[in-house]
Symmetry: C2
Subunit: 282 residues, 2 copies
């Protein structure tokens, strides 16, 4: 298989949108980014980000908030965007992801509110006190093939695992063999399986690609996202990314997941936080 590139990869094809009218885009939710039957939230975020990047005058997502309203299903969809404000250095827009019931009724899946800018136009100052996560070398981390019994349990179970080069820190993978750490942490090396390098758009996928931190807290079952906000802070350098996700407050049936994404140059390229619900097993 030839090395995929930005613009010519499975991720790019599956997040493609076709402008049907000003601000309105046709899309197709691929079955290739599902976990069990759910379409991955980060994949949907990237798809919406693609449409907004076309609808707004600035190229890069700076802050993207998505509310997950109903469960998306693979198949056709429409994205309707609205330009809220256009400024010199930043612009703001909304996007709605719509699918259709058998009788033609519109069902809204996602509502997005986002600010776009130009990462290439930012000054070079860096004063980051955060440190990259301490991850074991890539080859000592665990891929899906390392899961017990050959089941690809590490990153959920299904199609998306084939598209991600995800290598979990063994210290945060104990849940896969019934020994969660109880700390609420997930850390992993991240890449796309076809070798496509990261860009601001794929970072929207990356922030929601690891297994739920709830697994490391000993919970099982579904952890649906209510709301996710991602800040893209810098264009990622080529090479594998490091992702650290932490939960510090699981209470009242809700938890936050804070994600950081670091590139190969030790730049903090993305920060995200989501509010998710814990849905008990069975």
């Amino acid at each position: 298989m030839a090395q995929a590139t930005i613009g010519n990869s499975e991720f790019d094809r599956d997040t493609a949108v076709v402008r049907r009218a000003p601000g309105i885009y046709d899309a197709h939710l691929s079955a290739g980014w599902t976990i069990i039957q759910a379409v991955n939230g980060g994949y949907l975020l990237a798809l919406m980000g693609r449409a907004l990047g076309d609808a707004l005058p600035h190229p890069d997502p700076f802050s993207v908030t998505a509310h997950y309203l109903t469960a998306s299903v693979p198949g056709p969809a429409v994205i309707r965007t609205e330009v809220v404000r256009t400024g010199r250095t930043m612009s703001t827009g909304t996007a709605r992801l719509i699918q259709f019931a058998e009788d033609g009724t519109e069902i809204e899946r996602l509502r997005v509110l986002a600010a776009y800018g130009d990462l290439g136009a930012l000054p070079d100052d860096v004063r980051t006190t955060a440190k990259p996560p301490a991850l074991p070398p890539y080859e000592h981390c665990l891929g899906a093939e390392a899961a017990p019994g050959g089941r690809p349990a590490i990153s959920g179970s299904t199609a998306i695992t084939e598209r991600l080069a995800l290598r979990l820190d063994p210290a945060t993978a104990g849940w896969a063999v019934g020994a969660p750490s109880g700390k609420g942490e997930m850390r992993a090396w991240f890449g796309l399986a076809d070798g496509r390098e990261a860009d601001p758009l794929s970072l929207l996928l990356t922030v929601d690609a690891l297994p739920p931190t709830a697994f490391d807290l000993g919970l099982s079952g579904w952890v649906p996202t209510v709301e996710l906000t991602a800040h893209i802070r810098h264009r990622p350098a080529p090479g594998p990314l490091r992702v650290a996700v932490t939960t510090r407050n699981l209470a009242g049936g809700f938890l936050e997941e804070d994600a950081e994404v670091w590139d190969s140059q030790d730049r903090l390229v993305a920060q995200s936080r989501q509010l998710a619900r814990t849905v008990l097993h069975g």
Copy 2:
């Protein structure tokens, strides 16, 4: 002065909204919550939260995202809400804050996207690994009256300081005397000056009420918020709140501010993150 109560306080009067038509509210932005000439972002968030609490079938803000589009000014305003989705346990809506130019042109100030629910209906489970901030006792922290030269420099400069009972940890107040710690932290005791207790709505004010962490990094000048997302996680118990705000990534002219609000029962009642720009002095 009689003790103010929830529903009968300056905060409640200044965030009051009057329903003019279904989903449309008249409001008045009070000059009492300004810093220099800017209307405080947390006050605006609470005002929008008030309108959405009326427009949506659930009472409490769970996740509220605001994009600050243009600078609000004290005076009349209109809030237009839209119900995006209504579910059994949660509902989702948007709100727009509109002011008017002299010629009558509409100017949008804020765009909000929010999920509401019922905090009182959540289960009692608490598994919080985060710890409350280590703050010196209230009487050892610094109020506005402690500012050098009698200037109320601690919490900015103006009207809002009279309405807040804000006591800054001396360890994060060095910037007021030209000796910032360089860590990007702010910690404070927080209350409303008239004694009104906290509730989910006032927590939306609390998350954006401390001086900018940029001051503790040695920057001066304006730090306008691009986007702020607040998660309200529990009804606050009576008594003073503790707030800790941290910045870990100041780069490319942008920074995040992460805030935590803890109540007198050591419950983490709110978490927020904002993306702000640094606008250099002069």
